[in-house]
């Protein structure tokens, strides 16, 4: 298939959007449909930090995104940093052992193969497209080529949406349906006061607590914001 045909075929899928509000969600679903994978997500990163997810298609893809946000490791983070696709056709029996914190819960949730594609235009790196499948196996050449085109379209879509936003503000279309983990940052602010430390240190503590207690950082943050959990020096205590 020529790349022009590929673009048109994917654009036909995209044109089928049920409503403009659901555009990002629809893009995610098209990514999964076209590549014939179990689920998809588009992650936005700023520098080397995960900012959040623009869209996720199901509970497993949400978990895959959240774990990468919590631990700062995983296929999307790596694809974004390396600027090239990161492919793991069998998470249970990988050629390269990587992502020690990320892998066990992802496997437990039923994902077996996972693929990250950088979302970028030229040197502008925006994030990564994540695809997962519930059975092991490589993407074939067609699926791989489709994923590259979809990642390119996602990059253009993100920039087109953000281009209309006032300076210093996130475009409403980018925030609608997206999860930028705002509660985590609120919690970091609270913990900084409770433990008399910097917000950076507070984030590290939240992350460490989540890891030790086998929970997502979003869950821990929610407890902090609801004042069910306070951090004092040096250790966290539930209440």
């Amino acid at each position: 298939m020529s790349s022009v045909e590929r673009y048109f075929r994917i654009l036909e899928h995209l044109a089928d959007v049920p409503s403009d509000d659901l555009w990002a969600q629809h893009l995610g679903e098209v990514c999964a449909t076209v590549t014939r994978t179990s689920g998809a997500a588009i992650m936005i990163l700023s520098g080397s930090l995960v900012s959040g997810s623009w869209c996720t298609t199901d509970a497993t893809s949400r978990l895959i995104e959240d774990l990468q946000f919590t631990f700062g490791e995983g296929p999307c983070v790596e694809a974004h940093m390396l600027g090239k696709p990161v492919l793991e056709p069998d998470l249970a029996d990988p050629e390269v052992r990587r992502w020690p914190a990320f892998t066990p819960p992802v496997l437990a949730a039923g994902a077996r193969a996972i693929f990250g594609f950088p979302v970028r235009i030229g040197a502008a790196r925006l994030g990564a497209l994540n695809l997962y499948r519930d059975a092991p196996g490589r993407l074939d050449a067609e699926q791989h080529a489709d994923a590259l085109v979809l990642a390119d379209m996602a990059a253009r879509a993100i920039l087109a949406v953000q281009a209309d936003a006032p300076p210093d503000e996130l475009a409403a279309e980018l925030e609608a349906g997206a999860n930028f983990h705002l509660e985590v940052h609120q919690a970091a602010g609270m913990v900084a006061v409770q433990a008399d430390c910097s917000v950076v240190e507070a984030l590290v503590r939240l992350r460490g607590y989540a890891f030790r207690n086998d929970r997502s950082i979003a869950d821990v943050a929610e407890d902090v914001v609801r004042r069910h959990l306070t951090f004092t020096m040096p250790e966290a205590t539930g209440s």
Binding site: I44, S46, G47, S51, I121, G122, A123, A124, R125, L126, A155, I158, L159, Q162, A163, A165, P167, D168, E169, L170, A171, F180, L182, E183, H185, Q186, A187, A188, G189, M190, V191, A192, V193, Q194, S198, V199, V225
Partner: protein
């Protein structure tokens, strides 16, 4: 290298610039040099329009070419200028001092041994961004297939340049996106600090920050950054509630 092989290599080099980060000047210098190497022309150069639509000389196969291109811009006449303005090719014009077409340019060019001039537009979708200019020291026409090849090279270079523009825009937009994301995070962190210090919920904390920013005529992001980074205390905010105990 055989002419065909060199041409193919040139197209490949130009096409590569579509996907890699590259320097516009390098691409256009390559274009000019390869025209001289592969086509029956003595000199080649490229002019591009700046954002204000004023032409600029960006590549020349020699110092002679460069001075002749600059001269056209100063005198505001010549084949490159006409080609850019009309968006149409101007090829196979034999220079003659008395035809009155470009009196200043013709005199100057003929003094440098130039006998015929050929200028091709760099156009994409109705937009002309510059011109590829080729000069010959013989009076005759350019070979027809040379003109086709030159236009093809100019077209690929045009796409590469416009693509580069898109990439440069993307770079700027991306840094704005990062900035916006970062501002958003800082506001949430400041809300968390104020909420915890004052024992109020997030919405009330946000109101406190916003009204303080408004009263003191500072941008909300700046105020929030100071609070989040610990350069300002939440307690210094206007109407910070006095807690018991």
């Amino acid at each position: 290298m055989a002419r065909e092989a060199l041409l193919i290599q040139t197209l490949v080099d130009l096409a590569d610039s579509l996907v890699e980060d590259y320097d516009v000047i390098d691409v256009l210098s390559l274009l000019g040099d390869r025209c001289v190497q592969t086509l029956d022309v003595a000199e080649a150069g490229v002019m591009l329009a700046a954002p204000d639509n004023a032409l600029q000389v960006v590549a020349s196969s020699s110092e002679t070419m460069r001075s002749l291109e600059l001269f056209q811009l100063q005198a505001n006449e010549g084949p490159c200028v006409d080609c850019f303005r009309s968006g149409l090719p101007i090829v196979n014009i034999a220079l003659a001092v008395d035809d009155g077409r470009w009196p200043l340019f013709t005199t100057k060019a003929m003094a440098q041994g130039i006998r015929s001039v050929h200028s091709l537009p760099m156009r994409l979708r109705g937009r002309t961004i510059g011109a590829l200019n080729m000069f010959r020291t013989a009076a005759g026409a350019m070979r027809e297939d040379d003109v086709v090849v030159a236009q093809a090279l100019a077209d690929v270079a045009t796409i590469a340049i416009l693509q580069h523009e898109v990439a440069a825009d993307a770079q700027l937009l991306n840094s704005q996106l990062s900035q916006a994301l970062n501002s958003r995070i800082i506001i949430e962190q400041a809300k968390g600090k104020v909420s915890e210090s004052a024992g109020i919920d997030m919405d009330d904390a946000f109101q406190l920050l916003r009204s303080h920013a408004r009263n003191h005529n500072v941008r909300l992001t700046i105020l929030c950054r100071d609070i989040a980074e610990g350069n300002a205390s939440a307690r210094s905010l206007d109407s910070f509630p006095q807690r018991q105990g």
